[in-house]
């Protein structure tokens, strides 16, 4: 009996947490199918708001930008982050023991701060015209740390002697990387890529600072639309973005359960 009651409480608590997290999101999803211009009352089911999205060239343009930036930023961040993660695992003494802190700082830094400092850096130091390139660099910057940490956790969970064994059995350092290290790290690297992609697609704060005037991403486009009113079209695009994010996060946490599900 006691145990049954205990598990009932556990279920109730879990339900409350999920409600807290997902109820506001559910409202958006529900109203994206509402056959009314106002987010006030349920009138009837429709998918026409998704249809209007396809006719909205500004929206499509923003989506294309977001997709391009996310793929490019995630690719570069994955390569750099993997190298950083391997370096962090290999050199744990001397000056390089500070490397993890340095690589992870952008992860913990307030986005506002990162946005401002990147803006200053691009304009005052590099004299770069703000646009796709500046957004790309900014997204790479905050993604590297995530990839590095996932890769490092995966490496830390492995028996280091397998890399020595590969060398011992005749593999050069490059062959060791290709045949042993890379295949074993691959799930972590993919998870890092998906995380970076997600972070890039969803990012608003930093992007606002470094986007300049010409280029819009999906979150920026949504923001500029709700300055007028939260239209059902915004609900629809938000729902799609949410679905994409959840799918990618779920996929990533399946690939790297040790880091992303808190499992050792």
């Amino acid at each position: 009996m006691a145990r049954a009651r205990q598990s009932l409480w556990l279920w109730a608590a879990a339900l409350a947490v999920y409600a807290f997290l997902y109820l506001p999101l559910a409202v958006v999803v529900i109203f994206s199918f509402n056959d009314s211009l106002l987010n006030a009352e349920w009138v009837g089911f429709t998918t026409r708001w998704y249809g209007t999205l396809l006719d909205d060239t500004e929206m499509l343009n923003a989506a294309a930008n977001s997709l391009f930036i996310a793929i490019a930023a995630a690719s570069v961040a994955t390569v750099l982050g993997t190298m950083a993660g391997m370096a962090m695992q290999r050199w744990r003494a001397g000056f390089l023991r500070f490397l993890p802190v340095l690589v992870l700082t952008p992860v913990a830094m307030p986005e506002l701060l990162l946005g401002v400092s990147l803006l200053l850096f691009f304009r005052q130091v590099l004299d770069l015209t703000l646009g796709l390139i500046s957004i790309l660099i900014a997204h790479i910057t905050f993604s590297i740390g995530f990839v590095a940490i996932i890769v490092r956790v995966r490496l830390a969970g492995m028996d280091e002697s397998i890399f020595e064994a590969a060398r011992d059995l005749g593999a050069s350092p490059w062959q060791t990387f290709r045949r042993v290290t890379l295949p074993l790290l691959l799930p972590g690297i993919l998870a890092g890529f998906l995380m970076s992609f997600t972070l890039s697609v969803d990012d608003f704060v930093i992007t606002v600072f470094v986007a300049g005037v010409g280029v819009t991403t999906l979150p920026l486009q949504i923001y500029s639309m709700i300055k007028v009113a939260v239209s059902p079209e915004v609900n629809a695009v938000s729902t799609l973005l949410m679905a994409l994010t959840l799918t990618l996060i779920a996929l990533a946490s399946k690939l790297a359960p040790d880091t992303l599900q808190g499992r050792a």
Binding site: D159, S161, I162, E164, A165, A166, R167, D168, L169, G170, A171, S172, Q175, R179, V180, P183, L184
Partner: protein, 361 residues
């Protein structure tokens, strides 16, 4: 000529002198064992031979060729790791074939040698399985097959039995000896277990604090330890502090405080007045309950204080007059009897002059 020459090799890690001026010569086809307590430097020495680490001083020569500067993948030396270090993303067959692929062998040669190697370790039916699906003993055999398949000049084994349970360890020890004889490759085996060392080796080097204490055949090390450390580390032994009284062609006369005189075989070196220890193995002691003691060169009276029944043998702890306790071992040759002597029984214990050795301090 020796296959592997280790000349005055040293390696230091910060304050720790892990390997301290070690010189060894290992012959082709030998089963050579490095034994010592954990932290004695045996694994460091192995890593220097494999090429994972480089010595601070000294030389390593394989077949007369200097090994310095040659990376591990270019050395004809393969290692069986303590953790086995199997590649978890490869099947048994892929693991074992790995060295051949790295060496750029043809597909035909790989498949025929793979078959041979898997049969050698009785794993032909496990070729398609992954390491995680195997038992500890099977993984160990995969590691062996993988390290042997490309016929290295030298096989290094780093505590390969440590992760196995006692019964399996015994079985694999036997297999290892047979395997080494069959393939004829030189084995350098590292272990902290003196029993394993005695059981498998042609020659043993006993290491302590980065130094080699003694090198020799198992029976030599066991019967004639050169110092207290070796005597104490290999097997069990009774150590009596003694002072040298006289040494002449009649024998070595030692004095053990409170016990009296001990006679040993004459040796060159010790001079009267020198302090040292007399070491005698428990199985060399005779326990006499009644009768003539004059046959024994050395004998003392005492009482049975305790006994340890170990199945095949029983170890009796005999307290002598001066509270000195000696361990004496008797074989339980009569079925069903755990002991022949009761606690408190008065006995005499003795040994012949050649049963023990004098060790200088």
């Amino acid at each position: 000529m020796a296959l592997l020459e280790i000349r005055n090799v040293s390696r230091r890690f910060g304050e720790l002198q892990a390997v301290d001026d070690v010189s060894l010569s290992i012959g082709a086809g030998e089963f050579f064992t490095l034994v010592g307590p954990s932290g004695c430097g045996k694994t460091t020495l192995l890593r220097l031979i494999a090429g994972f680490d480089a010595p601070d001083a000294g030389q390593l020569l394989l077949d007369g060729q200097e090994l310095a500067g040659i990376p591990p993948e270019k050395r004809p030396v393969h290692t069986v790791f303590q953790s086995y270090a199997l590649f978890p993303h490869m099947t048994v067959a892929q693991n074992v074939a790995f060295p051949l692929q790295m060496a750029g062998k043809s597909e035909d040669e790989i498949s025929s040698r793979l078959k041979e190697a898997l049969e050698l370790v009785h794993l032909a039916n496990k070729a398609r399985q992954f390491p995680r699906e195997l038992s500890g003993g099977q993984r160990q055999r995969v590691a062996l097959a993988r390290a042997l398949i490309n016929k290295p000049r030298l096989l290094l084994l780093d505590e390969p039995l440590a992760a196995l349970d006692a019964k399996l360890r015994e079985q694999i020890t036997g297999e290892l000896i047979a395997l080494q004889r069959e393939v004829g490759i030189t084995f350098v085996f590292v272990t902290h277990s003196q029993q394993e060392a005695l059981a498998v080796s042609h020659r043993i080097a006993v290491m302590n604090n980065g130094r080699i204490e003694q090198v020799g055949a198992p029976e030599q090390i066991y019967s004639y330890p050169r110092n207290r450390f070796v005597a104490d580390f290999i097997g069990t032994i009774n150590l009596l502090p003694v002072e040298v009284r006289a040494t002449d062609h009649d024998g070595l006369r030692l004095f053990a405080a409170g016990l009296g005189e001990i006679v040993g075989t004459p040796i060159v070196g010790p001079s009267p007045g020198e302090q040292g220890a007399f070491a005698v193995r428990p199985e060399q002691l005779r326990i006499v309950t009644a009768g003539d003691l004059t046959e024994l060169d050395n004998h003392f009276h005492g009482r049975i204080r305790d006994h340890l029944y170990l199945g095949d043998v029983t170890v009796y702890k005999i307290e002598l007059e001066n509270r000195v306790v000696l361990d004496a071992m008797l074989t339980n040759a009569v079925p069903g009897r755990a002991r022949f002597l009761e606690r408190g029984a008065p006995v005499a214990v003795g040994w012949q002059r050649d049963a023990g050795v004098y060790l200088r301090d």
